[in-house]
């Protein structure tokens, strides 16, 4: 499966939860598949999906899911020790690991070669790290959201992209409606 197929499959699972979504095609795909005020679309700032979602999870009690990418986690590897050492049960980090910088044309990342993000997350001190194949993600994600323990999911999948338009929503509108959803 490619990222857009995964997002289609998990859309019903995440639609009522607070979601912070990675820059580029991941956000564009989620926006097209199931736009919700509970989605925070990143329009820039590669690498910070995990950090934004984690700060949000620490600041309030609702479950938060950060949808991240392997390339973005690699660019902000420092996020994993911070998450591990300040664990909060309402946080789930879903890393869609397609082994490539998908949004920029599927250039290979090191996560698709010798580097295991699962092993890195464990070495950083994350207690619940689950590596899962794309087709098995749904139930794993559901139980991670339901559980009281913080979970890092590394979802291995194929690289590949579909054609779709950029998000034209104003960032302040994205942020405002998201904050209203957080408060609701």
């Amino acid at each position: 499966m490619i990222r857009s197929e995964i997002l289609k499959e998990i859309a019903p699972i995440i639609r009522d939860h607070l979601v912070v979504c990675n820059i580029g095609l991941p956000s564009q795909e989620l926006h097209m598949i199931d736009d919700q005020p509970t989605n925070f679309y990143m329009l820039g700032t590669m690498g910070l999906s995990s950090s934004i979602g984690f700060g949000l999870a620490l600041a309030q009690d609702k479950p938060v899911i950060s949808i991240d990418g392997d390339g973005s986690v690699l660019t902000n590897l420092g996020t994993l020790p911070t998450i591990a050492n300040n664990a909060t049960g309402n946080y789930t980090l879903l890393i869609i690991d397609n082994g490539s910088y998908g949004s920029t044309g599927d250039q290979p990342t090191y996560a698709g070669q010798k580097t295991s993000l699962t092993a890195v997350a464990k070495a950083c001190g994350c207690d619940n790290v689950i590596e899962v194949q794309d087709k098995d993600l749904g139930p794993v994600l559901q139980s991670a959201i339901d559980s009281d323990e913080m979970t890092i999911i590394v979802c291995k999948c194929d690289s590949g992209n579909i054609k779709l338009p950029v998000i034209t929503l104003d960032p302040v509108v994205i942020r405002h409606r998201f904050m209203e959803a957080v408060k609701a």
């Binding site: 820039g44 700032t45 690498g47 910070l48 950090s51 949000l56 620490l58 904050m179 957080v182």
Partner: protein, 168 residues
């Protein structure tokens, strides 16, 4: 006056309850003070752009955030300041140790000091410079200004403000 306590008091008085830090020798005292305050959640970050991501999330979660970092971190965070904090219009007080100014013993620090105000000006970031201890009296107003305007705001604090850099 104990500057570290005064800064922590002003943060608390302005409802700032989520603070991320990357240390600098000059900031050791204030970081220690923040760490022991019950009203402030202190989360050290590994890089300042990561810290700004945490602050963005905390803000959207209803908390008032702040970051404490060294001026060298301006070089690390320009993309984040522009594409996250400013683009989405979020407030962020940045208490910054301004290394490489008068009374600085480490030559390398001067190399980023000479760019610091220019970079902040280029980013249209409101910038305040604390040089004398009494300048800290402005902090309360600066915090109010930051959350009124929904902008990142820089407070540069030099070695003279902190009472000299100490022996080295």
């Amino acid at each position: 006056m104990n500057i570290d306590k005064k800064i922590a008091d002003d943060l608390v008085a302005n409802d700032v309850s989520f603070v991320t830090t990357v240390p600098c020798k000059q900031l050791a005292g204030v970081i220690e003070e923040i760490d022991v305050r019950d009203d402030i959640f202190h989360i050290p970050s590994n890089k300042e752009d990561e810290g700004m991501g945490l602050c963005a999330g905390a803000f959207m979660g209803g908390k008032r955030p702040a970051i404490i970092m060294q001026n060298t971190a301006i070089g690390v965070t320009i993309n984040t300041l522009a594409t996250l904090t400013q683009f989405y219009r979020m407030p962020l007080p940045m208490l910054i140790s301004y290394r490489g100014e008068l009374r600085e013993p480490v030559a390398c620090q001067v190399e980023m000091a000479v760019h610091t105000k220019a970079l902040l000006a280029q980013l249209n970031i409101p910038t305040f410079h604390f040089h004398w201890q009494k300048d800290v009296e402005e902090l309360d107003n600066i915090l109010k200004y930051t959350f009124m305007s929904n902008k990142p705001v820089a407070i540069l604090t030099d070695a003279n403000f902190w009472g000299g850099y100490g022996d080295q």
